[in-house]
Amino acid sequence: MTIADAGQPVLAAPERRRPIGLLLVAVPVLLVIWLIIWPIISAIIQTLWMRLPEGGETFSLETYRFFFSDGYSLSNLSITLWTTGVCAILLLVVCLPIALYLRFSDSKVAAYVQGLAIFPMFVPSIILSFAFIRVLGPNGTVDLLLNAMSLPKIRSPYLTPWGPVIGLVWDNIPLTVLILLSGLGNVSNQAIEAARDVGAGRFALLWHIILPRISNSILVAISFAVLGIFSAFTLPYVLGPAAPEMMGPFMQRTFRELYEPRTAITQAVITFGFCIVFGLFYVRSVAKNRTP
């Protein structure tokens, strides 16, 4: 019939498009499998299968057993967790007020504040480290100013655990602010006004309306920050103490200086294990958002 004939091409069009769509995503998916998924699997296999001196391989948890019984490895893991936790808290404390200000301020100053908040994104970590040393390091600008005012020197955070914390917080401010700001964009002015209308003051508004509405964004921002901080290298390497050290420099030293690739890979797998927990938080949050 004419109607059926006329209808056929309309129905067939999406069918024809489907393989093109799949082909378009196939390339990046294959690249992810090749460059990310396979190295992860390969690394895990390498840490679990030990070569025997007489040839052949055997299953062994020896490297993991060593890591979790070695005091130095554990203190490195512990300082990494501490740094990550402190940075995550500080990032929230610093970035949430900035994002709230940017979302709700009508002032022209807000545009400049946003520019300043995003600025660290354009500063490479190594430049930031250099600036940090010149300002907060021994005989840096702060020391010179204190000296000029005849005041005692401060205890520099350089080469202490606080050095990487300051650097990493600075480095992660832009992304955290942007994610929180995007979350706050979903809190409508009318929802805020409705809350004020029923009697909510500033704190009640923040606690009962704004924070629950942006909890997903907070989770995503913290997941991103934690993923970056946990495996950070440059800032902990340049600004942090020699020992204990964060997992990034620890892995590099184990691999390059101690020539223990299998131990370094084990450290990487353990680091990955911690990161994947936050990665799953992120994936869950994205999936939750996409659920109709």
Partner: protein, 346 residues
């Protein structure tokens, strides 16, 4: 007792260029429902937001029960506002949306439960407490928004185009329900709308606003039948506004003339379509039928005067008229305006 008094309130926005509300005054009586009606940009929403505390007046005074509220923040005002977009908190269920304001007022949990259930019953959402607001229909969401305001027992209920996002049928049903609830609770209400039907069917009084000023404040039937300005005449309902000249007591415009006992000069004649009788003309035609629309209960005839001015007439039997026919016009009720004020009504 007048519960809400607005006296000489103005709002000039920061740029200093826009005078959104200009020297506006209004007294709203206890239990009265007043509609602020006007086109977009007439200042009605700004005025409502000032009463709600969301905008600060540049000058003027507002009182509720004699208490100055001009600079009181919204969270401390005895007002409750229903927003156009419902503005429900989607991370809370219906019960929590309603209970939030009561919790902030430290009302006992048992009392919160009782009041929330009572108000849900009032708006016809009994048993919906545990439902997630995002999963409710538009009409149900609007009822929750209304219930959220009512549960706090405000002295003044403010409605900011609450039905604007709903379809026609739902809008008609909800406005009847809201009017019933308002009358049952005898709650003083200020209602912003740009829908004349809403204003005419719900309000005790209508304030027609234009450019931040009052054009007319009156009962709906008076606003409809006796508009004081050509703007109100043209804005409320359908009105034929014919600009012409009066000479020796006769108004004339492009072949159409009718007696008008006012002084000579330009005038605007206002005739409602239902107040214009049509007759098929042999000679002395005053206009031609352009189009006939049959609405079932009545018909609307679009007419063209000799200079192509279009006017409308409502007829009981539209099948009697056809496009191209010559007709004569006999107005049953007219008003005439000059310099923006009414000069004659008959």
């Amino acid at each position: 007792m007048s519960i809400l008094k607005i006296k000489d309130v103005s709002k000039i926005f920061a740029s200093g260029q826009v005078r959104a509300v200009d020297n506006f005054s209004l007294d709203v009586a206890d239990g009265e429902l007043v509609c602020l009606l006007g086109p977009s940009g007439s200042g009605k929403s700004t005025l409502l937001r000032m009463v709600g505390g969301f905008e600060r007046p540049t000058s003027g005074l507002m009182t509720i029960d004699g208490e100055d509220i001009t600079h009181v923040p919204p969270e401390k005002r005895p007002t409750g506002m229903v927003f156009q977009s419902h503005a429900l908190w989607t991370h809370m269920n219906v019960f929590k949306n309603l209970a939030f304001g009561l919790k902030l007022r430290k009302v006992a949990p048992d009392e919160i439960k009782r009041r929330v259930e009572a108000v849900l019953d009032l708006v016809g959402l009994n048993g919906y407490g545990t439902r997630h607001v995002a999963k409710l229909s538009g009409g149900q969401q609007q009822r929750v928004a209304l219930a959220r305001s009512l549960v706090l027992e405000p002295k003044i209920l403010l409605l900011d185009e609450p039905f604007a996002s709903l379809d026609q049928h739902l809008r008609e049903r909800l406005r009847e329900e809201v009017r019933d609830i308002q009358q049952r609770l005898k709650i003083t209400t200020l209602f912003v709308t740009h829908g004349q039907d809403e204003a005419l069917s719900m309000a005790d009084r209508i304030v027609v606003m234009r450019d931040g000023r009052t054009e007319q404040i009156d009962r709906p039937e008076v606003i409809y039948r006796e508009p004081q300005t050509p703007f109100v005449a043209g804005f409320i309902g359908t009105m034929n506004l014919i600009e012409g000249n009066v000479a020796n007591g006769i108004f004339s415009k492009a072949g159409y003339s009718t007696p008008l006992p006012v002084g000579d000069g330009p005038a605007i004649m206002a005739i409602r379509p239902e107040a214009l009788d049509l007759a098929i003309a042999g000679e002395g035609s005053q206009g031609k039928v352009h189009r006939v629309t049959d609405y079932g209960t009545h018909g609307l005839v679009d007419l063209e005067l000799n200079d192509a001015t279009r006017i409308k007439a409502m007829v009981p039997h539209p099948d009697l008229f056809k496009a191209g026919q010559s007709v004569t016009l006999t107005p049953k009720a007219i008003a005439a305006y000059r310099d923006g004020v009414v000069i004659h009504r008959a």
